[in-house]
Symmetry: C2
């Protein structure tokens, strides 16, 4: 059954998204694309994750995946039926699939991902009645802050590449 | 760029699917839904995986995910661009997403999954031009054998449940 309302007040949503942003900043520090996530159960954060693709050289180590795996460990079950996920960027197909498989009930994300997002951008896997599970979805929480983290990261990356090229040519 | 042809002869495809089936049987032995996968690079198997959801109590431990993670470790890169995946059952959204993210070039699966399959059954994430990667897909390799493994598993499971209920009532 698809849940039709949020478990949180506006303040709570804002707080948990700030926590996801704190995770994204850890990725930033490591030179990873800054995306962060937390899983919440009974208004407590039970797991955290941030993108680690380059550090691990593993295509599956997205913020949501790490947080979901750790949440399963925390509750000792693959069923996260009464859990909610907060993530700074719209989930991709892999992470949307993991959300459905783990039965997470509510998903809150910050910035949209027009290129790879599958929760509203060019498809919506979490609200598709053909799937065996659906999630309640809310978007746009601290959207600008979540988006700016990514914009700044890629701006810096381009700048660094430019400088490296310049140094090489001198 | 989407690859438009297979790297394998019919005999090779059959061989690698047999190897995926051998993985599925390991899951069966553990009482897990029998699904198995292998990742191939230059005609050699570089990783294997089978469904371990119940044993790990982790919703993300599908056969494909384990095989993809191990393949990334094997080639020390999140890019599996010249790799192929063989899996006994049509991949779900999570595994399809992981295939796209790791840039696996070719995907071969045995049985269709009308309920959760996202590679032809009710959507096709691997051949969707809106995604930043596409894969060459072939289906139906040892389809009956792959399907029978699942049918028998669920038949046995129902039988066991029936017997347990009977024993409880006596």
């Amino acid at each position: 059954m698809k849940p039709f309302s949020s478990s949180f007040t506006a303040e709570e949503k804002d707080y948990f998204m700030q926590q996801a942003i704190a995770e994204a900043k850890k990725a930033y520090q490591l030179g990873e694309v800054p995306i962060g996530a937390v899983v919440v159960y009974q208004k407590n954060i039970i797991s955290r994750g941030y993108n680690l693709r380059e550090s691990t050289q593993d295509a599956t180590t997205h913020a949501e995946m790490t947080a979901i795996k750790a949440a399963c460990q925390s509750v000792e079950s693959w069923r996260l039926e009464e859990c909610q996920l907060f993530v700074t960027l719209e989930p991709c197909a892999m992470c949307s699939g993991a959300i459905l498989l783990s039965r997470i009930e509510e998903v809150y994300y910050g910035a949209k991902d027009p290129k790879g997002g599958t929760v509203g951008s060019f498809m919506n896997l979490l609200e598709d009645d053909r799937m065996n599970h659906q999630a309640y979805v809310e978007t746009g929480i601290r959207e600008e802050e979540c988006g700016l983290l990514l914009t700044n990261f890629f701006k810096e990356l381009r700048q660094k590449k430019k400088e490296a090229k310049k140094a090489k040519n001198n």
